[in-house]
Amino acid sequence: MSPIAFSIALVLALGSFSSILGRRALKLFSAAPAARFDHLGERLKITAIYAFGQKKFLRGEQPAGLMHAFIFWGFMTLGLTVVTLFGRAFDADFYIPLLHPGQPLGDAYTLLRDVIQVTVVIAVTYALYRRLIQHTPRLFGFQPAEKRLHDEPHWEGILILFLILGIMGGSLIHEGARLVLFAGEHRTETERGWEPVSNLVSHLIPGSAAHTMTYVGFWMHNLIVLTFLNLLPLSKHFHIITAIPNVFFGSLRPRGQLSKPDPGKPDDFTWKQVLDMYSCTECGRCSAVCPATASGSPLAPRQLILDLRDDFLGRTERTDDKIVSDEVLWSCTTCMACVEACPVGIEHVPTIIQGRRKLVDQGAMEPMLQDTLQNFAQQGNSYGKSSRMRARWAKGLDFKIPDARKEHVKYLWFVGDFASFDERSQEASRRIAKILHHAGVSFGMLYEAERNAGNDVRRIGEEGLFELLVEQNMEAFAGAEFDAIFTTDPHSLNTLKNEYSEFGEMKPVYHYTELLVELIESGEIALSEPVGSKVTYHDPCYLARYNRITDAPRRLLGAVGAELLEMPRNGTNTFCCGAGGGRIWMDDSKLVERPSEQRVKEAAALGDLDYFVVTCPKDLAMYSDAAATVGVDFQVLEVSALVEQAMGLRDDGAVLAGDAA
């Protein structure tokens, strides 16, 4: 079928495609290096799960996720159809070897192709419905951060969808016409049995037009495929080419472990960051879960990646040297929801932190944050208090917590700044100390030798200060005797567990909920008075999303007898309180509605609730304030209060709500 005409079209199209692709590839190869060729087996595994298995689509929002998965699997199969129809240019009866009608694989392929083409048509029609009729907010940009996206036409996505419909239609017409043209032949009749949809189409084609229609279908399919191919690198549909490699080259480091800046070119993008920009499909799953976007800050992760991409490709004119404004970079809470949501493996948060490192180097930050960093540097805590005051909260106890620098303890309690200095959290710290003391657990502290662990300092972008704090803490660890660390602070847990080992040898690190639940389940803590309170539980980002600790706190709530009502966003899908990444030391008065207030309302919508339970000192502060601002019927409670009650340890005789008094 028209071998010469098709050859010309093919050569032109492939020539143009390779030239565009070549330019993109050159830009990619000239980017800074990134070590992403290690652990190939593991990389193949994540590619199988997240790219070919479409895991994030199947787990995420529906039915959009299923819709994408079917289109993706359709494309995988239909690659064979493209080869077949290209081949028909040169041999009107071309079949891929082993896929001839009558051969087992051939018949299976015929059936699969036929069914998948219809599935793709249905899925694409649904996609068009979302864009043209339903106006799904995610596809139209979130305000105010995605204003630019909002202003731009959406014809690109719509055009591509129509092109896909055209490709499916062309193939169905071609196959249908062949069934008419070669009717009665044994091979055709075999094929007919395996392609019910093409067979239906064949009934619409009169015998006189069959010959022409094979050509119409052939050209329609092939020309659209070639056009589509050339549009890919020019549009967001470039992800069809780059997404699978982007998943393959994804980060294999623990989620909570940042890379050190490249000492030579700290500001340059690596080729993996460039591949991130190429891979963004503008789906907006990141912006939809972003607490900064939701609270009306200027940051939306999708917009950030698109701004970087457009600048990288020279599509935008720079007005000054700032592609992304300082406010956008400082808005991030580093909660990692965007990275978790992105189906194509884009790593937004490390890119934001890279930008912040440059700002810190220039000293471009708000005064409150600058003061806080100076406090860290001089006093080792965010409060700017003398390190000798760090353990003062323990003075109200009727026993002395051992000094791990002077005697061997089983557990070293890394208390963290908030639990040491914040008044509300100090009360929780004393309670936890009491519980552990009562249970006879061997534990101690570093007293004034403890410094802030540096988790948030590193995420503010002050790498040198982070390293200084690590050195100071490592020195303190070296001077103490202990078997393991536990901490009441998820932020400290994250860096101690994932990042300190890059600076020296570390003992195992646990969250206190893990320790408490283990003590209860092993019988070392006996619970005599189950609490009957109705509670909901907020997963801290650095515990749940970063470190996958979602089970221990829930087992703890079960053990004390609380009735747990889950918020819609729970576990690794939790919603940030807004305090992370140094945000707690920045001005949040410009936000339309703080993330913590939105979260409290999410809990309030559960109905009858006694407590909003937290396991992070920053959460206790954030949510106590938010609950007061919003005005709700439940209280914010740190989890050990329930444990204390269940142990019958409350000395004031007070009973928690929901209990039969």
Binding site: G363, M365, Q370, Q374, G384, S386, E463, G464, L465
Partner: protein, 258 residues
């Protein structure tokens, strides 16, 4: 413009202060020392002035506890030279002594302007800049809240009570006591401070041996003591005035000529 900024170390006020055994000063042994915040202001203003007018900034510190960190931090912020005058100064230095040491060293230096913090939290007489200007025999402006280049010299803004601002033009050598810089002191990242420690050594030379009596000695240092309760004066203006006069007489605050 060649600017010199003397940096002083003072007690970190977040620490709990204790008196020494004879009750004449704070116990210095267990305390942490940080840069005097007014000197940080002076350094910032000096750096801004250098950025506006060109020239260089030299910081000079006397060998007080942890002065190295302060000097390296200044280098990281943009100072061109850092000088440390060594000696045994663990027990603190009076303003007279400090000014005399600095003046001796400044005598060997070329400079246009000395910018120094107008005071420090532990200054007894708060006059380092004034004494220094006297020893160097230069012009002196105190309580400056802004210094900018002006016709080869500088223009200095001074603030007075009630929002009055005074602008002075200075030509020739001068000592300026800085109350506040035009912008908040800049942040310098720890990486830059560490880089400065590696790349830019401090110039060290012995501090001059000076004999500079202060004229005053501390007899007793103590925490504020609450005195007798306040007496609220009531009645009309005449009655209140009469009572005030009575109190002044009772306490012998004014001497009446007979």
């Amino acid at each position: 413009m060649q600017i010199i900024v003397p940096m002083q170390q003072t007690v970190d006020l977040v620490e709990e202060l204790e008196l020494n055994d004879d009750g004449t000063g704070v116990e210095r042994e267990y305390l942490k020392f940080v840069a005097n915040e007014w000197d940080e202001q002076a350094l910032e203003e000096a750096l801004l002035l250098k950025e506006a007018a060109g020239g260089s900034v030299t910081v000079v510190g006397i060998d007080e506890t942890d002065v190295d960190g302060t000097l390296f931090s200044a280098l990281a912020k943009g100072a061109d030279r850092a000088v440390k005058l060594t000696g045994d100064f663990e027990n603190g230095i009076s303003s007279h002594q400090r000014a005399a040491i600095l003046a001796a060293w400044l005598g060997t230096q070329e400079f246009d302007l000395v910018m120094v913090g107008v005071q420090s939290p532990e200054d007894l007489d708060g006059q380092t800049g004034v004494i220094l200007a006297n020893l160097l025999d230069t012009a002196h402006v105190s309580v400056a809240i802004g210094v900018e280049p002006h016709e080869g010299g500088v223009k200095v803004r001074q603030e007075f009570g009630g929002g009055t601002v005074h602008e002075l033009a200075l030509s020739g050598r001068a000592v300026v006591g800085v109350q506040a810089a035009t912008a908040a002191p800049r942040y310098v990242s720890i990486s830059r401070v560490r880089a400065a420690m590696q790349d830019s050594p401090l110039e060290t030379l012995p501090a001059a041996d000076v004999d500079a009596p202060t004229g005053t000695t501390v007899r007793r240092l103590y925490a504020p003591e609450s005195s007798s309760h306040a007496e609220m004066l009531e009645g009309d203006a005449d009655a209140v005035a009469a009572r005030i006069l009575e109190i002044v007489r009772e306490r012998g605050i004014v001497k009446e000529l007979s």
